[in-house]
């Protein structure tokens, strides 16, 4: 029992770590689609993390009972639900915004620079782009 829990915790921690790492990597990419996916992965990671903050337990009742040795913590589940709803809404929003950016800027580059548009002078290119 104890070993299985220990390994379960290790597994969950590993999953959270991998999700976060992938999320950070993708969020740092230059195009909007990977960025959106990266932010989604980050939110998955944090949701899982929140869920685990109540500790991993097996077979413990969430409501009061006479035979219970202990109780599963119900609060993290409520927090996760809230966080899921919020991140869901935010993801929907940023997807729409990326589509709008693709339409308005003509590129899915996060800085709105066209492909192959190398900026010889960072300052000039930035300002020129802003006026466009």
């Amino acid at each position: 029992m104890l070993e299985s829990l220990l390994s379960m915790e290790a597994l969950i921690a590993l999953i959270i770590g991998v999700l976060t790492a992938s999320g950070v990597y993708l969020a740092l990419r230059a195009r909007t689609f990977p960025v959106v996916i990266g932010l989604t992965l980050l939110s998955y990671a944090v949701n899982l993390f929140l869920f685990v903050t109540g500790r991993l337990t097996v077979g413990l009742p969430p409501v009061i009972s006479d035979q219970a040795a202990g109780y599963a913590d119900p609060l993290p589940q409520a927090l996760v639900l809230t966080a899921i709803v919020i991140s869901f809404g935010m993801t929907a929003f940023i997807i729409m915004l990326s589509l709008k950016a693709r339409a308005e800027l003509g590129t899915d580059q996060v800085d709105g620079r066209l492909d192959g548009d190398v900026a010889p002078d960072e300052h000039g290119a930035g300002r020129g782009g802003e006026r466009g």
Partner: protein, 510 residues
């Protein structure tokens, strides 16, 4: 338990819902008046609350009558109500400007504006860390909509960065909150303060890490160096009334820093006391320096004002970082001033930009704008105000911060940075003023401008600017009672045990 405490949260939500429902039914003119009336009522509600808490009482509202720490509580103390007052006043004048035409083109501007207010009020009043996250998300989601109002390539690009950064920030916030809950087993801020002070040594590292992670999140909202990079683009590309309202947004971060690091990780927190002490002052001073350099380098007036917001955040957090009663009190006084002044400046920059045609607010010599003397006069007054020259409230705020720093060991740094940032700020604004108003070009443009002189100044748009400037004058005229209030606020903040007792009741054993 008075329901007045939650009224500043519920009322904007109600107004937003109403405005959303009637957006197709009622003409824009009526919706504008409805929104303005709602904002006036909000100011009145907050004023009632000010009267209740000014004496030092901490009002607690337990949602659903669940006692803390099991239920979520709303807490109104001097600090939250001061923030609410500043917010509702800025919101009113920003809306007064927006109804002059900015709000056209989208049916959702008015509901979003009220939702933004809903999120802001909630963030200031909540006594629960997770609830703070939720209200952050509400105000952010509304702010995304407002930022992108009327679209355009600039706004979309700045908006994309703003949204992506804030989503990453929210994730960090959740990680920090989750860690705190996992170790301390509570989310109520007062209860967190009690539990954090009693952290067993083996968990100290994790709690400290979570506390510092929270600091990163709040620093992102407050635009503290190195997390300020989103601000200039976002603030300078959005519409003027939204930028004016956003003048309060960085202050949400500053408020959270002040609240969390005086209450949970404050001086009385035992092993986790003074968690961000070594970080905040250097970062705040560096923020002021970088912001000032940004002001000097800016090529557009609105970008310059956005950097001005960064500078004011630096000064504000410097005052908070010094951590004495006098410095925090001075910082809170300066907070009100800098919010009103930045909002007025954003609105004024919009008027200047409109008078310059395609040149907009770019800092290049251009045609003489219509009513140049009047607008130039306003520019002059606002520049004096924001750069902290006497006799207006910027000077008083800065003087109070400097005065509070005079006896502290960090005095040379604080004096050096604040005074040189002030000087460079004056130079930057003087250059902008002379470019915009004195080096305006000759005869060909003059005929066009002369034609516009017949139009006369747009008093409808000037009115909110005058209102905001008058608020700054009020800050000077009633500087005595107001600084007494902010000083009392600081006193209250530095005694977290009073707050904790108000929320949790008397401890069973002392």
């Amino acid at each position: 338990m008075s329901h007045l405490i939650i009224a500043p949260i519920l009322f904007p939500l109600l107004a937003a819902t109403l405005l959303l429902l009637v957006r197709r039914v009622i003409p824009l003119r009526v919706r504008r008046s409805l929104n303005l009336v709602a904002l006036v009522i909000q100011i009145l509600l907050v004023s009632l609350l000010v009267q209740r808490v000014a004496g030092g009482e901490i009002l607690v509202y337990a949602l659903g009558n669940w006692p803390a720490p099991y239920g979520i509580v709303m807490v109104a103390d001097r600090l939250s109500v001061w923030m609410l007052l500043v917010t509702s006043l800025v919101a009113f004048f920003a809306m007064l400007y927006a109804v002059r035409g900015t709000d056209a083109g989208s049916r959702h501007f008015h509901p979003l504006f009220q939702l933004q207010l809903f999120g802001l009020s909630g963030a200031f009043l909540t006594g629960d860390l997770f609830n703070l996250f939720v209200f952050f998300e509400i105000l952010l989601l509304a702010s995304y909509g407002l930022l992108l109002h009327r679209g355009g390539a600039n706004r979309v690009r700045a908006g994309l960065h703003f949204v992506a950064l804030n989503l990453a920030g929210s994730t960090l916030f959740l990680f920090a909150v989750g860690t705190l809950y996992a170790i301390l087993g509570t989310l109520n801020m007062a209860d967190l303060a009690v539990k954090a002070a009693a952290t067993p040594p083996e968990n100290l590292g994790v709690v400290r890490a979570a506390g510092l992670l929270l600091f990163v999140v709040f620093a992102l909202k407050a635009a503290l160096i190195p997390l300020y990079l989103w601000l200039p683009a976002a603030y300078s590309s959005t519409s003027a009334p939204v930028a004016a309202l956003f003048a309060i947004m960085t202050k949400v971060g500053a408020y959270s820093i002040l609240r969390v690091y005086t209450l949970i990780f404050g001086a009385e927190a035992g092993p986790v006391a003074d968690l961000i002490g070594p970080w905040l002052l250097p970062l705040a001073l560096a923020t002021m320096t970088i912001g000032t350099l940004g002001m000097l380098a800016a090529h557009e007036l609105r970008r310059q004002i956005a950097y001005l917001v960064v500078v004011s955040v630096g000064l504000l957090l410097t005052a908070f970082a010094l951590g004495t009663e006098a410095s925090i009190g001075a910082g809170l006084y300066y907070l009100a001033h800098s919010t009103f002044a930045a909002a007025a400046f954003f609105l004024l920059a919009d008027m200047i930009a409109m008078g310059r045609g395609t040149l907009a607010d770019r800092l290049d010599p251009g045609p003489v704008i219509a009513n140049a003397n009047l607008i130039g006069g306003f520019f002059f007054v606002t520049a004096i105000l924001v750069s902290g020259l006497p006799p207006l409230s910027g000077f008083l705020g800065k003087y109070m911060v400097l005065n509070a720093a005079a006896d502290l060991p960090s005095m040379p740094w604080v004096f050096g940075v604040i005074l040189s940032a002030g000087l460079l700020g004056v130079i930057a604004l003087a250059r902008s003023g002379s470019l915009l108003f004195y080096r305006a070009e000759g005869l060909i443009e003059r005929t066009g401008a002369a034609g516009r002189h017949a139009v006369g100044p747009n008093w409808g748009r000037l009115l909110p600017i005058i209102g905001l400037l008058l608020l700054c004058v009020t800050l000077v005229v009633w500087a005595g009672p107001l600084s007494d209030y902010t000083r009392a606020t600081a006193e209250q903040l530095l005694e977290p045990s009073v707050y904790i007792r108000a929320v949790l009741g008397d401890p069973p054993s002392p």
